[in-house]
């Protein structure tokens, strides 16, 4: 079982809770969600507690992540978009820390659960739709009619725009989920080779050096992917929010 690459995605109940016939148990996944917000929240809170005019190294990290997300949002959605800054920053930090925590051996990766990433993506799209109609009223539908399109093509273009809009939550969630899932499975498979090869004596141990090196390399790659996927998630969120703010392209 220890060599089963899928095993790491199993959910186990820690505290069974059942309400109205639905299972709301506190699981290992829930525990790592709590750990994610605890680590991220504590880091951001503690490193900035001294409020140094000249930042310490750790305070710089918090400030850099703040300014990173702030400039990302401002570039994509303009200064009006800054009202969504707490939302985008929370999303970025949550996904980033969940991804990074998942890289520790024996830890559970929250973002490797399609339902989690899909819920986050629906939250983004839901915010876009609700805010888009709230701010622009029916004018939000202009989003589906790009300007400067010849009359004959309009129905076709509108159809394509609607399909692409509806596929956004799917692409947003599947991108993150698939990246985390594939990375962890690859890592586990290569690490499994090391274990099973070294069972064949001296030659096996010698032969396991290659998969071991691969495991190290893939771990480094996964750190990059963890950051990159959080970044991609946040950037796309900013771009979708821009559609809600300025639907007229």
């Amino acid at each position: 079982m220890s060599n089963d690459p899928i095993h790491q995605f199993h959910i186990t109940k820690l505290i069974p809770i059942e309400i109205g016939g639905y299972d709301f148990s506190f699981t290992n996944s829930s525990a790592f969600m709590v750990a994610t917000i605890a680590v991220a929240g504590a880091f951001l809170f503690l490193t900035t507690s001294s409020r140094g005019l000249i930042p310490s190294r750790l305070q710089s990290i918090s400030e850099m992540s703040y300014e990173f997300v702030a400039s990302m949002l401002r570039d994509a959605a303009g200064s009006h978009g800054m009202k969504f800054f707490p939302f985008v920053f929370s999303l970025f930090m949550f996904v980033l820390v969940a991804n990074l925590l998942g890289l520790f051996p024996y830890f559970f990766t929250v973002t490797s659960q399609i339902i989690v990433t899909f819920a986050l993506a629906l939250l983004v799209i839901g915010t876009v739709i609700v805010y888009g109609f709230m701010k622009n009223g029916i004018g939000f539908l202009k989003l589906f009619v790009p300007s400067g399109v010849p009359g004959i093509l309009v129905p076709l273009v509108v159809l394509i725009e609607i399909i692409s809009f509806l596929s956004r939550p799917i692409s947003l969630s599947v991108r993150l989920f698939a990246n985390m899932l594939a990375g962890h499975i690859t890592l586990k498979v290569f690490a499994g080779f090391v274990a099973s090869l070294s069972a064949f004596g001296a030659i096996g141990v010698a032969g396991s050096i290659l998969p071991l090196a691969m495991t190290v390399a893939i771990t480094a790659l996964e750190v990059l992917v963890a950051f990159l996927q959080a970044y991609v998630f946040a950037v796309l969120t900013c771009m979708y929010l821009n559609d809600a703010l300025h639907p007229g392209h």
Binding site: I11, T12, M33, L44, R51, S90, F94, I115, L181
Partner: protein, 189 residues
């Protein structure tokens, strides 16, 4: 309804065979696609992400924003102060240069004045000396003229005396004084 597969899954690895068909089905499922945990996942995600959002929005982001704001203000303030100091320094340099120029001009003026004064004094003195000399020259010339006139006047007397003496020697006896005087006067003219 949702509970059974979930419970079964928990004990899945060791006792796989002894479980029901229902369990075998759930075991075959790829865990992320197993819907039995979806309600739990969504609920806990909502709770944790909600708390995280509120915590960041209420506590962390105002604080970090405040730190950055304070720093930006401080830098702007320092820059303003530096600019102010620079302008003050520039003003001081300008004032110093102006004062220097004024002092130079003043020194030049004083020098010029002194030079002019000295020149005028020398000129006046020279003129005075020249005037004195001229006066003395005139005086001397006057005296010479007087002496000459006096000498010329005495020439007649001497000539009369000499004539009288010569006449006495040559003729013997005393010459008439008036005749001699008339003769000299005639000779003189």
């Amino acid at each position: 309804m949702f509970v059974t597969p979930a419970f079964a899954q928990e004990q899945a690895p060791a006792t796989n065979e002894t479980h029901s068909l229902e369990h075998a089905e759930s075991e075959a499922k790829f865990p992320p696609f197993d819907p039995s945990f979806y309600p739990s996942q969504i609920l806990w995600l909502a709770i944790t992400f909600g708390l995280f959002y509120i915590f960041l929005k209420r506590v962390v982001l105002p604080r970090v924003g405040g730190i950055l704001e304070v720093r930006r203000d401080r830098i702007a303030q320092d820059l303003d102060q530096a600019a102010l100091m620079k302008s003050e320094a520039d003003a001081a340099v300008a004032a110093y240069e102006q004062e220097l120029a004024e002092a130079k001009a003043k020194a030049n003026a004083i020098g010029q004045q002194a030079r002019d004064g000295a020149k005028a004094d020398a000129e006046a003195e020279r003129k005075q000396v020249e005037a004195g000399l001229e006066q003395k020259l005139a005086e001397a010339e006057g005296r010479i003229a007087a002496i000459k006139a006096a000498a010329m006047k005495e020439v007649g007397t001497i000539a009369e005396d000499t004539t009288a003496a010569i006449v006495q020697e040559l003729v013997g006896g005393k010459a008439d004084k008036a005749a001699v005087a008339a003769a000299v006067k005639a000779a003189q003219e």
